[in-house]
């Protein structure tokens, strides 16, 4: 929604900049184009950098500001019947993880992780991937390690030596798949990715641990008990 308002404001802003600078770019306002940090006139030769454009507007005392208002569409959700659409945009996503559980030490090692997310439209694909990788890392963190301890109400997790966020070696190679499914409600077609990417690796880890051990865990971070079970064939029949 913030993105919607921003896009509308940016469109207004472009109009203002075009009107202010079209004369200098030897064209009419409709012909002004914005590309790769440059402002172009009708001809490719008529171009100035964006920074220069801002300086010229400043010199003319024309200020680059605009207001954008985006009103959320109505939803049909009915609190009493529990029916209808609760939201106007849906983000779809799926993450999968491969891991091993060391039964003796209770340690979980992540081997592989892949995520596919419907982001609407990927405005900046590299940044979208970054958000996905970062979300998966955070999710792995609160799924397996991160915990604030406050025995007797006194916080003992005070710094990064006791609050264990994932280090590079804790994480596997990750793959991010961007699915573009432009959102008709959003002015840019983009949905969101920060939160969706953050939410679903921990459940995937919980499911993988269930598949590996047969035990369901219902609280995070997941703690597996170390099981001392040195058996005769430990080396030979590992896994």
């Amino acid at each position: 929604m913030g993105g919607g308002a921003t896009a509308l404001a940016a469109r207004e802003l472009k109009k203002k900049i075009a009107e202010a600078l079209c004369e200098k770019l030897h064209c009419v306002a409709d012909q002004v184009r914005f590309k790769d940090n440059f402002v172009y006139g009708k001809l490719d030769a008529d171009r100035i950098t964006f920074a220069d454009a801002m300086r010229q507007m400043w010199a003319m005392q024309k200020f680059p500001f605009a207001l954008g208002v985006f009103k959320a569409p109505r939803v049909s959700w009915d609190e009493h019947t529990g029916q209808g659409d609760a939201y106007f945009t849906w983000v779809y996503g799926c993450q999968a993880v491969e891991l091993t559980v060391n039964k003796r030490t209770g340690k979980v090692k992540l081997l592989n992780a892949v995520a596919a997310h419907d982001v609407g439209r990927a405005v900046n694909p590299e940044m979208v991937r970054g958000q996905i990788y970062g979300g998966m890392a955070m999710s792995a963190g609160y799924g397996l390690h991160e915990e604030v301890k406050a025995p007797g109400g006194k916080m003992t997790t005070l710094n990064l030596n006791t609050y264990r966020i994932p280090r590079s070696m804790d994480l596997p190679e990750m793959k991010a798949i961007i699915v573009e499914n432009p959102d008709p409600v959003s002015p840019t077609g983009a949905k969101s990715i920060g939160e969706p990417a953050n939410e679903i690796l921990a459940p995937a880890i919980a499911n993988a641990i269930f598949n590996a051990t047969g035990v369901r865990h219902f609280s995070l971070p997941i703690k597996l008990d170390a099981q001392p079970e040195p058996t005769a064939c430990e080396e030979g029949c590992a896994k």
């Binding site: 991937r129 970062g134 955070m138 990064l160 994932p166 590079s168 070696m169 190679e173 990750m174 991010a176």
Partner: protein, 155 residues
């Protein structure tokens, strides 16, 4: 006492000897790349290179660095501001989000690549083990270091 910071000789006043080096760099020399984040040497955001070795400096004093050759992130780019190939790779690969870990991460990677110009991804992962990053999941940081490696290969 003298310090050599980014190729520049710095005469340290006696009054600053007991200051923490990270504060000296940030406040007296205006080199704000090294961040004081955890304050206990756990996160790596304060990493600089001391005689080409990455070091976490948030718990160290100025007097510990007599005659040391120090490189901060400000000294990595060319004097005209052109980014070092490793910095450019970080930009190109999307390896930067909030940027707080970036100076320490880049310098750690720089020291690593000087010694290991043909690393595997696993070796890169190990090399940045001591630097915490909250945003990126390290994936694109590792991509960037891998991408920059050929610039360190001499033959």
């Amino acid at each position: 006492m003298k310090l050599f910071v980014n190729g520049r000789e710095i005469e340290v006043p006696v009054s600053a000897m007991q200051k923490r080096i990270v504060e000296f760099l940030r406040e007296d020399l205006d080199l704000t790349g090294a961040k004081n984040a955890c304050d206990i040497g756990a996160c790596g955001a304060c990493t600089i290179l001391v005689n080409d070795e990455p070091m976490r400096i948030c718990i160290k004093l100025v007097k510990d660095f007599a005659s040391a050759r120090i490189l901060t992130i400000e000294g990595l780019a060319a004097p005209d501001g052109t980014l070092h190939p490793l910095q450019q790779a970080f930009v190109d690969c999307g390896a930067i989000q909030c940027g707080f870990c970036t100076p320490g991460m880049v310098l750690t990677a720089h020291a690593f690549l000087l010694k290991h110009p043909r690393p595997t991804r696993d070796q890169i992962r190990q090399a940045i083990f001591k630097n915490l990053c909250r945003c990126t999941g390290y994936q694109q940081i590792i991509d960037a270091i891998e991408k920059a490696a050929p610039h360190y290969q001499r033959d």
